[in-house]
Amino acid sequence: MDTICKQPKKQILAKFSLLIFSFFLSINCVSAQDGEKIFKQNCAVCHSLGSNTIVGPGLQGVISRVPSEEWMFKWIQNNEALIKSGDAYAVKVSTFSPAAMPSFTTLADADIKAVIKYVKEYKEPAPVAATAASGATAPVEKGANPLAILIGVLAFLILLVAILRAVRYSLKNIQNANSGLPNDAKIGFWKEFKNSVNAHKRTTALVILFLLGGCLSSGWYALKGIGVYEGYQPTQPIAFSHKIHAGDNAIDCQYCHSGAEKSKTAGIPSVNVCMNCHKGISKGPITGKTEIAKIYEAAGWDPDKGAYTKPQKPIQWIKVHNLPDFVFFSHQQHVKVGQQDCATCHGDVKTMTTAVQVMPLTMVWCINCHRATEVPGMQSNPYYEKLHKNLTEKFKNQPFDQRKITVDRMGGIECSKCHY
């Protein structure tokens, strides 16, 4: 009874709210004259404002091309119907690309008018960016060679010693002449050096010890650096910045290096992966169009026609992290089961403009990590179930801090695991 009484009221309320809602909706429609906004939301994915093709044709001067503005309304709102009606221009346009343009039934005539106005009035911004870009490719600073500085300083010191010796000799002779004595005999540099060494034996011994120590230690470090690429930062054929891609744009490392989970190598991405985004982004924040144009050249992409028309050329990236042939390393194991972060071995790549090797990748570095690290992916992986059970059993009587099942405890530092 109660509910029946309430029903009409509810209905009225519903109708009233519908009315208000539609009122707001219509207001919304009327006020939606912002052509730029509508264009960016609906059209910009496929159409540029210039003459170049993205997916559909560029819209520069489109109004002078099409039969009429009404034709434009019909085409945008339901191009399928227009093509079917046999409109000659519509049929011609439909052959432009194999991809059909979607129908925008939600756009009213007024909205489309606003878009057309925006397209008509759009002017390409002055090419300030180009000059800025050429300025941004700063000349590579060439630091002076430290060896040259050292040789220069040594030469200067030798010259100074020679001049001072000559001055001392002539002053002594003037003194001799004043007191009526004959000139001093000339002593050679080498002889004088030997004399002073003989006179200061202890100091000489100290200097020699110091030099010997320096030689030995620097020689030791030089030998330790053989075959270690730490600090290797080769100039790549394209000035690709990891900072912009992985840092600023927060793209996951494995979007591009997608082999890391599946194969021995993480993989240097092929050009089609670059083109997934750069089909739409042809200008970068630092180098402008120059570097991205190199991707287009490699992919054979014609940015004006919006199609792959040119021959392809591989990009000759330079491998930074290179392990020698005598050691086996698999990314898959470390990323999938070991669940290691990329940064553990590659450093904070997100902040690098040019990729650099920050870790030594030496055997002692591998082994130290294997001694300290557990394998998080092992416990939940049925493949390792038995091994994990056995190892837990084996180490359960150890003191608490030694119960960790680290990589080395399951044979992770055996020679033949990596060298075979």
């Binding site: 039934t105 060896l147 050096f193 200097v207 053989i226 600090g231």
Partner: protein, 220 residues
């Protein structure tokens, strides 16, 4: 005797200076990997992945060899199944009608789908699928939202798009295996808000898809 000793000592001092000056200046060129012990182990004659090889021919010309190459024409990987729908408008429509997710809808698959979506799709499509990703905002136009424009997109069309690419979106077939693509699609359906239907009609999968196609038909 004394003279000889001093001579040797002074020679050593000079030698020490020279060695110090040389060793202290090594490893300053970022383009040089440094001294290599057994270089043929670092740049082996057998093709290693991701290295670019330059071979000198007998006549003095150079051949460059990329180690990442296309498979030999006509060969297929083990276990490979061809994808039967061509990269055309008809293929796209046909995939939408006939192609269905072969994977069971489990929590594990869905979780993996979410993980892969966040890695491979969210840069442009955004974590919520609204087209508000960081990279998406830098494209000429943001990708359409799963909740409005793409609300009723059938799973077959999604798979077709992931495989071949569509409009600005490129093919992701080189990054995602077929199974992974289906897992991603599972999660995209959750973002569309259509996953409940898929769960309810899991055993009779054909029904909801056909309905979805009908709803989608007016726009093309």
């Amino acid at each position: 005797m004394k003279k000889k000793v001093t001579k040797i000592i002074s020679l050593m001092a000079v030698f020490g200076c020279v060695t110090l000056s040389f060793t202290s200046c090594s490893k300053h060129d970022p383009n040089s990997p440094g001294v290599e012990f057994a270089p043929d182990m670092y740049r082996s004659p057998s093709l290693e992945s991701n290295l670019f090889y330059v071979n000198k021919n007998a006549d003095g010309t150079f051949d460059t060899l990329a180690s990442n190459r296309l498979p030999v024409a006509g060969t297929i990987p083990r276990g490979f199944m061809p994808y039967g729908y061509p990269n055309t408008l008809e293929g796209y429509e046909a995939a939408g009608l006939n192609l269905h997710n072969p994977l069971p809808k489990t929590d594990e698959n869905l979780q993996r789908g979410e993980f892969l979506f966040n890695r491979f799709c969210s840069p442009c499509h955004g974590k919520s699928g609204e087209g508000d990703g960081i990279v998406g905002s830098k494209l000429p136009g943001p990708p359409p939202s799963y909740k409005t424009v793409l609300k009723n997109l059938p799973e077959g069309k999604m798979f077709h798009t992931l495989t071949y690419g569509k409009n600005l979106m490129g093919s992701h077939a080189s990054q995602l295996t077929k199974e992974e693509r289906w897992k991603v699609i599972m999660y995209v359906q959750k973002l569309q808000g259509n996953d409940a239907a898929t769960v309810a009609t899991d055993s009779t999968k054909k029904e909801p898809v056909v309905v979805a196609v009908k709803a989608e038909k007016p726009k093309k």
